[in-house]
Amino acid sequence: MADALRFRNDDPIEEPAVSLDAFLEQDGASAVRVEAGDDPSRLIPHLARVKLVEIGIPRFRDGRCFTSARILREAGYEGELRAEGDILVDLVFFMRRCGFDSFAPQAGLNRADVDAALSRYANVYQNAADGSVPIWKLRHG
Amino acid sequence: MRILTGNDLKTGAVIWWTGRGWSIHVEDAADVGEHGEAILAAEDGARRVNGGYIINADETPKGPRPAHIKDRIRALGPTVRPDLSLKPADPAAGEWVI
C-alpha cells in the first residue's frame, strides 16, 4: 500500500478495523470498516466508541462512499474517516467535502497533485460536511 | 483475415494497423493473424491507439473490407454525409459500406 494521506492532527489509530458486523458484536472494538454495500446508519447508535471508520472503495466509480461518509458526519461523528481502496486524485476534493479526512489509496497519490486538486475550486455551490461556505451565502452575506 | 482498428488518442481519428504503424485508410490494414492481442497491448501501452480492438475482415481486390457495417462506416464516414467521408469524390463509396 502506498503512503497514507492524513488531514488530522491527532495520532493515527493503530487498531485494525473490523467488519461492521464484527464491530457491532464486539463492545471493545473502536475501529470499523464499512464496505461499499454496508448500511452506514447501523453504526450511528455506537458512534461514541468509534475512533476510526474506514470506508472501502472497491472501484473509484463506486460513489456509495460519499453518502456513507456524509451520513456518519451528519450523525455527529468526529473521529477519523478514512477512505481505503481505489482512489483517484480527481475524487479527493469531493471526498474531503463529504467528510473524509484520511486516505489510504491502493495506488499512490502524489501529494502535489492532491494539493492542486484541493485548491482548484475556490468556492462551492452547496454546503456539505466540510464546513465550506456555499456561494449562495457569499452572495447574500 | 483479422485486422486491428481503434482511434488515435489525441485526434480521435479512426485508424488501422498496417503492420508497422497506423493509417487512417482501411486499405492499408494488415492481417495480424493470431498476434492481434499482443500488438494491441503494446500499442495501447505506448498510447499510439485508444480503444483498439480486433475485427474480422474480408480480403477483396480493393483491400480489406470489415465484416461488420459499423466498422465499414468507421472506415469511410457517416453514410448520410458523403461530403465528410474519406472519399467525398467517389459516389460509389457508399455502396461499399452497405
Binding site: F60, G63, R64, F66, R97, C98, D130, R139 | K70, P78
Partner: protein
C-alpha cells in the same frame, strides 16, 4: 436570461483548467482510458465512431445570440462547420480532437457556457419547457428553478459518482412539452390551495432498455425545500442501487424493485433529515436568480392581425406559430427537419442567421426543444413575415412542427458507437415518403421517434410511432412500436411484432398511417385513434 457573476464564472473557468489537466495527464500516460473515461464523460466528451464528440450543455434549452454565435464559431474552427441539437436540448459536435477539447471549453466559458455533467453517471443538464416565459398556459417561468437547481447540482460532492445518469426536468404548465415523466426526477410547478408555489414531484422515469414512466412520489413539495427533496431521492438511490450490472442501476430499477410506496417512505425519511441540514437555497437567492428571468419589456398596443396574403407564409404561420401570453406577440418555431436533411443538424451559417433573428426580433432569446427544433419565443406578430423570409433564405422555414416529417432521430450508427443501426436514413426515407404537404397536414399531429439502439436517445418509447434499430446477425433491422407519448398523456409505445429492413419499416409506417386514415373519427389524432380502436387493428394492417 441568467448572467454569471464572478462565482459562476470562476467555477467554469476552474473546470476548464481541471479538464485541461486531466487531458494532459491522459496524453502523458499518467492515466489509462479506464480512469480517464469517467472523467471525460463528466465533461461531455465521448469517443464516437469517427472522432471525439463534445456535448455542450444548454441549460433548460435557453441561449442568447452571443452564445449561439460562439457555437457557430466553434463549429467552424474546431469541427466541420455544423452542430447537432439533441433530444436533451443540448448541442453536440461530432468531429472533436481530444487535444483541442480544453480550448473549446475555454471558448465556451467566455460566453458563460460549459459541458459540465452532460454525460457520465452524474446529475445531467436540466431540461425544461422550451416555451418557458412565453407560454400562455404556464403558472410561472420554470427557469429560475432550473437555474437554481443547475447550481445546486453542479459538482455536488455526494452525487457526482452516481450509479447511473440522473435527469431532471422542470415545467410549469398543464401541457407537457418536455417529456416530463420520462425523466428520473420530474418537477411540475403547481400552486396549492393556499396559493403557495411548490412542486409536484415524479420519480423513476426513464427510457433505455427497461422503460418506466415516472410515478408521482409527492403531490406538493414546498418550493423552498425542493433541493432537499431531490437530495433525499438521490441519497436513497445512491446508497441502495445495484452496482453489479450497469443495465440495472438507473433509479427506475430501484423504484421498481423496492416498490413505489417503500421508495417513497425512504425518500420522505431522508427528506426530513435533509431539511435539518440547511442545504436549501434561501429565498434571497431564488429572488436574485428570478430577477434575471423577468419578462422582457413587451410592447403594448401591437396589432394582432397577421397578413396571410402569401400562402407559403400562411402555411408556416399555421404550423409553426404558437400563441404567446403577451398580446401582439407569438412563439415562432424553427424546424430543423427539412425533408431529406439530418434532423437537428444546423450549419454555422444557420446558427448565425438564427442568432441575428433572435437579437433583432426575439429579445435576444433562442430555445432548443427536445424534438430537436429551435424556437424564437417572443416575436411581434408584425415581424413574423420578416422572420419567415430570413428563415426561408437560410433553408429553415419548413412548416412541419409535430407532423409526420418532424421526426426525432438519434445520430444512430452513422455517428454513434453504441448504435446497432442507422437512424437518420430511416428518418429521411419517411420524410420523403410523406413529403407532400397536403398529406402531412391531413394526417395532423403524428410524432415519429427513431432510436438506433436500445438506449433510446431517439425516444422511440414515446413515439406515436416508434422505431428501434437492432442488429440482426450483422444487418440493420427495425422494430416498429405504436402508441407512445411524451406529452401530458404519457404512455409507453408497444412493439408491434417482427422487425423490418430499412425500406420495409418505411412501408410498415405507411400501412399504420393508412390504417389510421381509414379508422379515424373527424379531427382525431393518430394517437387517439390508436387508443380508441386498439393495437390489434393496427397490427393487422401492418402485418396482414
Amino acid at each position: 436570461m441568467y448572467q454569471y457573476d464572478k462565482y459562476d464564472q470562476a467555477m467554469v473557468d476552474a473546470r476548464v483548467e481541471d479538464f485541461r489537466d486531466q487531458v494532459r495527464r491522459r496524453i502523458a500516460g499518467d492515466m489509462n482510458d479506464d480512469q480517464f473515461k469517467p472523467l471525460r464523460l463528466k465533461n461531455g466528451l465521448y469517443l464516437q465512431l469517427h472522432a471525439y464528440m463534445l456535448r455542450v450543455a444548454i441549460p433548460y434549452g435557453t441561449l442568447d445570440s452571443r452564445q449561439l454565435r460562439k457555437l457557430a464559431e466553434i463549429a467552424r474552427k474546431y469541427d466541420r462547420g455544423y452542430g447537432h441539437f439533441t433530444t436533451r436540448q443540448n448541442l453536440q459536435y461530432h468531429w472533436i480532437k481530444l487535444e483541442e477539447a480544453p480550448d473549446i471549453l475555454a471558448e465556451l466559458a467566455t460566453v458563460e457556457m460549459h459541458a459540465i455533467q452532460t454525460s457520465g453517471e452524474s446529475i445531467r443538464n436540466i431540461s425544461a419547457d422550451q416555451y418557458a416565459g412565453a407560454a400562455a398556459d404556464e403558472i410561472c417561468d420554470p427557469r429560475p428553478w432550473a437555474e437554481l437547481l443547475r447550481q445546486a447540482t453542479s459538482f455536488h460532492p455526494e452525487f457526482s459518482y452516481l450509479p447511473r445518469k440522473f435527469k431532471i426536468c422542470v415545467i410549469s404548465s398543464p401541457a407537457d412539452r418536455a417529456a416530463l415523466r420520462w425523466h428520473d426526477c420530474a418537477l411540475r410547478i403547481v400552486r396549492n390551495e393556499a396559493g403557495e408555489e411548490g412542486f409536484e414531484v415524479y420519480a423513476g422515469g426513464g427510457m433505455g432498455r427497461t422503460p418506466f414512466i415516472a410515478y408521482k412520489i409527492r403531490d406538493f413539495c414546498p418550493a423552498a425545500q425542493i433541493f432537499s427533496y431531490i437530495q433525499a431521492i438521490l441519497r436513497v438511490w445512491n446508497l441502495h442501487a445495484r452496482r453489479d450490472n450497469i443495465h440495472k442501476q438507473r433509479m427506475k430499477i430501484l423504484v421498481h424493485d423496492l416498490g413505489e410506496e417503500e421508495f417513497r417512505r425512504q425518500v420522505e425519511e431522508a427528506f426530513e433529515h435533509f431539511l435539518t441540514l440547511g442545504t436549501d437555497f434561501p429565498q434571497a437567492e431564488y429572488d436574485r436568480i428570478a430577477a434575471y428571468f423577468a419578462p422582457p419589456p413587451f410592447e403594448t398596443g401591437l396589432p394582432e392581425e397577421i397578413d396571410r396574403t402569401d400562402p407559403d407564409f400562411a402555411l408556416w404561420v399555421d404550423q409553426q406559430v404558437i400563441a404567446h401570453k403577451a398580446p401582439g406577440y407569438a412563439i415562432a418555431n424553427i424546424s430543423l427537419k427539412p425533408i431529406g436533411g439530418i434532423g437537428g443538424d444546423v450549419t454555422a451559417e444557420q446558427m448565425e442567421v438564427v442568432a441575428d433573428l433572435a437579437k433583432r426580433y426575439s429579445f435576444d432569446d433562442v430555445r432548443v426543444t427536445h424534438a430537436q427544433n429551435l424556437v424564437l419565443p417572443h416575436v411581434r406578430k408584425i415581424d413574423l413575415y420578416a422572420v419567415w423570409e430570413a428563415l426561408r433564405e437560410a433553408k429553415l422555414a419548413d412548416a412541419n412542427l409535430d407532423l409526420v416529417t418532424d421526426v426525432i432521430a438519434c445520430p444512430g450508427l452513422d455517428y454513434c458507437t453504441l448504435a446497432n443501426a442507422r437512424s437518420i436514413p430511416v428518418a429521411q426515407k419517411i420524410q420523403q415518403r410523406f413529403a407532400d404537404m397536403d398529406r402531412q397536414r391531413d394526417l395532423g399531429e403524428l410524432k415519429i421517434k427513431i432510436s438506433g439502439c436500445i438506449n433510446a436517445c431517439g425516444h422511440h418509447h414515446a413515439g406515436h410511432i416508434g422505431i428501434l434499430g437492432v442488429d440482426r446477425k450483422g444487418t440493420e433491422n427495425y422494430q416498429l412500436l405504436l402508441g407512445g407519448s411524451g406529452a401530458e398523456d404519457t404512455t409507453q409505445a408497444k412493439i408491434t411484432g417482427p422487425g423490418f429492413d430499412e425500406d420495409g419499416v418505411v412501408d410498415a409506417v405507411e400501412r399504420a398511417v393508412e390504417c389510421y386514415r381509414t379508422l379515424r373519427d373527424p379531427g382525431e389524432r393518430f394517437l387517439d385513434t390508436y387508443r380508441r380502436v386498439g393495437f390489434d387493428a393496427f397490427k393487422e394492417a401492418i402485418y396482414g
